[in-house]
Amino acid sequence: MAALNMIQALNSAMDVLIERDPAVLVIGEDVGYFGGVFRCTEGLYEKYGAHRALDMPIAEGGIVATAIGMGVNGLRPIVEIQFADYIYPAFDQIVSELARLRHRSGGEYSAPVTIRTPCGGGIRGGQTHSQSPEGVFTHVCGLKTVMPSNPYDAKGLLISAIEDDDPVIFFEPKRIYNGPFDGDHHKAGQAWATHPMGEVPEGYYKVPLGKASIVRPGSDVTILAYGTMVHVAQAAVDAAGIDAEVIDLRTLLPLDTETIAESVQKTGRCVVIHEATRTSGFGAELVAEVQESCFWHLKAPIERVTGWDTPYPHAFEWEYFPSQERIIEAIERTLETD
């Protein structure tokens, strides 16, 4: 075991698989010599050479298309899209091609591509370095969608994603690359070394796709969150002294509906949290899912706490970011009913 931050944990996952499998390589902008703008591929170029930490031109559509071709021809590429905000030039290749290739060819062709991309705000990145487009991809059939909230899960989930024979969009919340973040930007940053999930085994291990994690057991209300918001939610319920069960979804698709239903049927209340914009966000899917599986157990309307339906504003980052206060208010509304 070693104390790793999320960047190092992701790096370790790629290192382990590139070493084990000659078909695995990482491709993208600045991922080779430089080691990635967030340093996620640092050292891979030195260790495995320019062909396996392969720098690519600035053309996300070209990068994903290349990955599909490589995947069809026996390789297992890991694509790094430098920011989730820059994934859209690859949208057609992801939606019309990567996601559907297996289905449209009657199972003849498929491409085991993993697309890693940093998402989320809280870093003063403005509207082009802060978005959380996960809901755009969960809406596409044929893609698995993952977002870890800590280094241990990040490594285990990334190994599962790379080894998965279906395409996986792997979102990395960049606000928590270096340490957990509880939503209070005035506080000094915490390091992953001080967090139990910053303890990461060396070598190979997997965290399965499609399995949520109950990060805080409780009985009065179920909180569904993922990525950075897992930490904000935990801090909020601790601060307010609420006996909440906080579930880190980890994989959005396929969704662990069993764990969710079991929890909400127990608590009778549910609050859904994400940083992405509200309308048609993944939270809407979660609310529908809970409504279908837990309707007769619900004691209060399901609440959503999300980013607003505006582009991520540079000056008003903290008014946009779902705060502990907004989360507590939403939980309290659900607790008002008996």
Binding site: D55, P89, G126, D309, T310, A315
Partner: protein, 419 residues
């Protein structure tokens, strides 16, 4: 699905890769060597008529238009014959940009700005091109052409207030510093996404032609962005409809850590235009006179109805990509000094001194004046607020301009936030 089906622990072939991967002009442990670059002498390139068919511009696409020689003499057909006042104005704008960059970079390092991008060494691109265009021409810049704003007379105070996202920021605190927008100066809103504005500029130019107007568009991308599909959309549509568009590629050799060799495919960027039946001209981007002349030629050609021109501005990114990277980690520290085409400010200064129209004393006095102006403007700008402390626009401004009229769901969200 599981590791059994594909695990590397199973017997795997040991492949010997035959893939070609381009290399860089330098790395920290590999010194830059530009001695093999083919730099033609100043004054050698021929200046064709503005109605020349594209296929007759091959030499310009693979060559390099240069006017100023190493001694600061202006030579050849491409000399735009500018008067001394215009040259001094150009020098002043370039020094102005440099003074602004230095001040703002320092402010970012002191924690007053979230981000900044300098254009050090590339000042001639935006300044000479901006000066060669007319005020009604529309500018679609990338994030390294803020020199255009100085040419068009934007107030430095307003630029600083934008970078601070404060109460005087004309774009209401919505964008990162340097993502300017200035409609009054026909300067398009900068997108953080690369290349998108290149093809949009062609649409703007097509509308100008559609309306029978004389205005042309001018758009900029860097060498790295030439990989983006939008660049080919721009070339294709501009050629098809003979749009009055200037399509500029600033080849500053680096896209963050990625050398231009990953975008150039071993040839010039100007050569891309040939296949689209568009003239491509490669110009010494650190030569104020050559940049001015080529831009003037392309704008004239566009106004005459002969369609677009692609211009490759051959330059060097002396600065880091942005305040978020340290270039010493990926290139030889001395590479900028070794760059064979020199510094655009020094070259124009030398030319003016040779003409007897400028002196070292005047130069130093101007630098001092501009530095003082930056200090005064910054003091004034922070009176309108800072990023961390405000004042900003009211928080409710976040919900405005998503649509022209605010729909009910956004109004409700605004009320939920209590603003």
């Amino acid at each position: 699905m599981t590791s059994e089906t594909n695990s590397g622990l199973k017997s795997q072939p040991q492949w010997q890769s035959r893939l070609h991967v381009p290399t860089a002009s330098s790395r920290p442990d590999q010194p830059a060597d530009f001695t093999k670059l083919d730099i033609p002498p100043a004054g050698a390139a021929e200046r064709p008529a503005t109605d020349v068919p594209a296929e007759q511009t091959r030499e310009l696409a693979y060559g390099l238009v240069r006017v100023l020689d190493d001694d600061g003499k202006a030579l050849g057909d491409w000399n735009p014959q500018l008067d001394a006042d215009t040259l001094r104005q150009g020098l002043r704008h370039m020094l102005h940009v440099r003074a602004y960059d230095e001040r703002m970079f320092r402010m970012q390092r002191q924690g007053n700005l979230s981000f900044y991008i300098k254009c050090t060494g590339e000042e001639a691109v935006a300044v000479a091109q901006g000066m060669a265009l007319k005020s009604g021409d529309m500018l679609f810049p990338s994030y390294r052409q803020h020199g255009l704003l100085f040419v068009r007379g934007r107030s430095v105070l307003d630029m600083m207030c934008h970078c601070l996202s404060n109460s005087r920021d004309n774009i209401k605190g919505r964008q990162l510093p340097i993502m300017y927008s200035w409609k009054e100066g026909n300067f398009f809103s900068i997108s953080g996404n690369l290349g998108t504005q290149f093809s949009q500029s062609v649409g703007w130019a097509m509308a100008s032609a559609y309306k029978g107007e004389d205005h042309v568009s001018s758009a900029w991308v860097g060498d790295g962005t030439v990989a983006a599909a939008d660049v080919y959309h721009a070339l294709h549509f501009a050629a098809t409809y003979r749009a009055p568009a200037l399509l500029n590629v600033v080849n500053n050799q680096w896209a963050i850590s990625t050398p231009q060799s990953f975008a150039s495919t071993g040839t010039t960027f100007a050569a891309r235009a040939q296949g689209f039946n568009i003239p491509g001209i490669r110009v010494d981007g650190n030569d104020f006179l050559a940049v001015y002349a080529v831009t003037q030629w392309a704008a004239e050609r566009a106004r005459q109805g002969h369609g677009p021109t692609m211009i490759e501005l051959y330059s060097y990114r002396v600065a880091s990509h942005s305040t978020s990277d340290n270039p010493d980690a990926y290139r030889d520290k001395t590479e900028a000094e070794r760059w064979p085409l020199g510094d655009p400010v020094e070259r124009l200064k030398q030319h003016l001194i040779n003409l007897g129209e400028w002196s070292e004393e005047q130069h130093q006095a101007l630098e001092a004046e501009l530095k003082d102006e930056m200090t005064a403007s910054w003091k004034e700008a922070v009176k309108y607020g800072s990023l961390e402390e405000g004042p900003h626009w009211p928080v409710s401004a976040m919900f405005e301009d998503v649509f022209k009229e605010m729909p009910a769901h956004l109004r409700k969200q605004r009320q939920d936030l209590g603003v």
